[in-house]
Symmetry: C2
Subunit: 431 residues, 2 copies
């Protein structure tokens, strides 16, 4: 494009994010023009229904229900996709790229399921595909991973990347609520949807984990590579047990480099209260990054919401616009490392296990033997007698998840074990 | 440059940062080549003395004492400047740019004093000038401000950007040490230099504040625009007084947008313990950013050290190398907003004032009157009787710094006031 020509933008979707994108394009027009070096002009907004109520007034004549026609117009330079979901988003993004437009998207589900198809299309057509808003909302995390840490070796990413579950777990921690009660409060406050499955069962976090792992380790990781456990089984007793050991329960997205392979998982875990992630409250998100040279970094902020997500979209839009003006492309995806994904059973972690046992001599020895049989060594045991029974709380040293889960199965089958009351992984502390 | 040709790098300085840059260039060579798309080759290292001991073995024949000759070689694509200080760094950077090389630097003092000269030279010669390592070491903060938030409006930046002073203040807070004792411990542990002036008196933080404000507000702010107060006057009593009100003392770099002007200052301040910056311990750094759409973001990590700083340098180096291969430049400096800098007297802030007064009737009324005379309204007063005298601790509402300091002068001259024992600004909380 010529250097003084306006950059023409089409927006797909005008919900909570899309309406804020439209608002900012208008309100920040002068600043955007100064930063890009050319005006940024909204040329169309695709919606499902023309007469739906929306948070922003869209200039007359820009609304359309024909998204495919909009992305196929030859006067569109950038398409912002904020519809979400797999289809029709994928078809529309591919059509936009094919038509010569660059794309900015917030669509984590699509990127985690079928990112490579999109990246290849962007590469083939020489266009940009940016998606900072897809992970942790307004928090700049993808650009730092892709660019700031490009000269370093990232070894681990620990993220609180789902605000709904963090809100629920925070309530359980601070108010002592049970899961159901905390979920209900989250729903009342608009932090959780009527059907909360995608959030509470970890699907949303798993999609983000796949995206983070891909960038951090220069490899292709998709949602199906991510071991996923949600928080619906987390009990008030688990949260109390974490408190007793100076820890807090968080739903973590964990991406690790192990030798040349990657391990990517989402599950609730206990982390020490002294860890920077422990103080991430309410619906906030944070991503903790460990790398060889930089050490430990953390990025913190609002992980969702129309306006924060729109900020990330607009940041990408400015980059794409500058690239377009310079006749160049930004950094594309890099998957050169092509690493294997480690199955969960081979991933090394630590377990916190609470067990109700008969209170009689030799119980601790029998439990310790069960751990030893699976080659799992014990870091700490806490024993609390209660009338005729006792509770043992065991925290293991690091072992493979397969060894650890076999140990728990073994415990469940033992005569002296009345119940295994809590099993949770422990993360974020040096052994 | 051609796309398969090596990118040739000259490094100026081989101290704690330079030696880690040299090490990483060697150790990460394969990854750097994959990420850049061409080999990254070290072609020379300028040092003061060839025979000085250093932390890394520099390949034979690469060391030189003639830095100017090195940056003038026609086979150098990128110059990494990690000497620090104003001269000869400025001359060398300008010579490198003029000679057609791009530059990556960690030199906050030079950028804060004479950044515009360097930016203009980079612009004129069509080369890149990157300096992520100049502020907060390994923490990616400049790239997020410049790119991720390019579609947003940053309104405020609060940074803990000097590790030495944070270490000292943290010791004073946790161990109850006085300033002198905490400084001595910092020196013993290598966190403070033998002459600690640049850190302790806030010069280092002021340089970083100027750089942050320039990027955040798209304007030119130099070190001389920054109001600067160090921490050498902070007493154990100040720290205790902060504790009593649930706060902690930090040396903050504060950059604010007020209407169309900017206010930039560095001084110790009390912030509430619930603020994310309050939990930044020891020598860590963190930068807290407030923007209209994104809300509140925080970036946390190691703010100094050879290896973390080298990570930031290498990240810039990869970006510059990618740009060079694409025959393009990155985002240059943008000062389009050209904002006025507000004098400290006109900057609005809040004061915490502790006063020893005679313990007699009417004292509180007289003190309240003194505040009222300067149009400063009081948020809270805490009164503690102690035998024949009493202590009043007053926290004001927001007023201009001129009004607040006039109020303190007024108090000092009052007959009933025995001593103003602590004066400190209060930041980071909603009124």
């Amino acid at each position: 494009m010529e250097s003084d020509k306006a950059l023409r933008v089409a927006v797909l979707g005008c919900g909570s994010v899309g309406s804020q994108v439209v608002r900012l394009l208008d309100e920040q027009a002068a600043d955007l023009e100064a930063r890009v070096g050319a005006p940024v002009e909204l040329v169309g907004v695709a919606v499902r229904r023309l007469d739906a109520p929306r948070e922003v007034e869209v200039p007359e004549g820009l609304l359309t229900t024909d998204a495919l026609a909009l992305v196929s117009r030859d006067d569109v330079d950038v398409v912002v996709e904020v519809i979400g979901g797999i289809e029709p988003a994928r078809t529309l993004i591919l059509a936009a790229l094919e038509n010569g437009a660059s794309v900015v998207t917030a669509n984590k589900a699509l990127l985690a399921e079928d990112g490579p198809t999109l990246f290849e299309a962007a590469e083939k057509h020489g266009r940009d595909l940016y998606y900072e808003a897809a992970v942790a909302g307004a928090i700049p995390i993808l650009r730092p991973l892709r660019e700031s840490l490009a000269g370093d070796k990232v070894t681990r990413v620990l993220g609180i990347v789902n605000g709904t579950t963090n809100f629920i777990l925070d309530k359980m921690d601070t108010a002592g609520s049970g899961f159901a009660e905390a979920l209900e409060e989250a729903q009342e406050l608009g932090y959780a949807e009527a059907d909360p499955t995608a959030d509470v069962e970890g699907f949303d976090a798993a999609a983000k984990a796949a995206i983070l792992a891909s960038l951090a380790f220069h490899s292709r990781v998709t949602a199906s590579d991510v071991h996923r456990e949600g928080i619906s089984e987390v009990t008030a007793a688990d949260v109390q047990s974490a408190k007793d050991m100076g820890a807090v329960v968080k739903l973590l997205a964990i991406c690790e480099l192990k030798d040349d392979a990657v391990a990517v998982r989402v599950h609730p875990a206990m982390i020490p209260r002294s860890h920077p992630l422990a103080s991430v409250r309410e619906a906030y998100n944070a991503v903790f990054v460990e790398s060889e040279a930089a050490g430990q970094l953390m990025f913190y902020g609002p992980g969702a919401g129309g306006s924060p997500t729109a900020s990330a979209v607009l940041g990408d839009l400015v980059t794409v616009a500058r690239n377009a003006r310079a006749g160049t492309r930004g950094v594309g995806e890099s998957a050169y490392a092509d690493r294997a994904v480690l199955p969960m059973g081979e991933t090394r972690t630590r377990y916190h296990v609470a067990i109700d046992v008969d209170d009689r001599a030799g119980v601790l020895a029998q439990v310790a033997l069960a751990f030893a049989e699976h080659d799992v060594s014990i870091q700490t045991v806490r024993q609390e007698g209660r009338d005729l029974d006792a509770q043992l709380v065991v925290v293991s040293h690091e072992a493979t998840d397969a060894q650890l889960s076999a140990t728990v199965e073994h415990l469940r089958g033992m005569e002296i074990v009345r119940e295994v009351t809590s099993v949770m992984r422990v993360e974020g502390e040096a052994e």
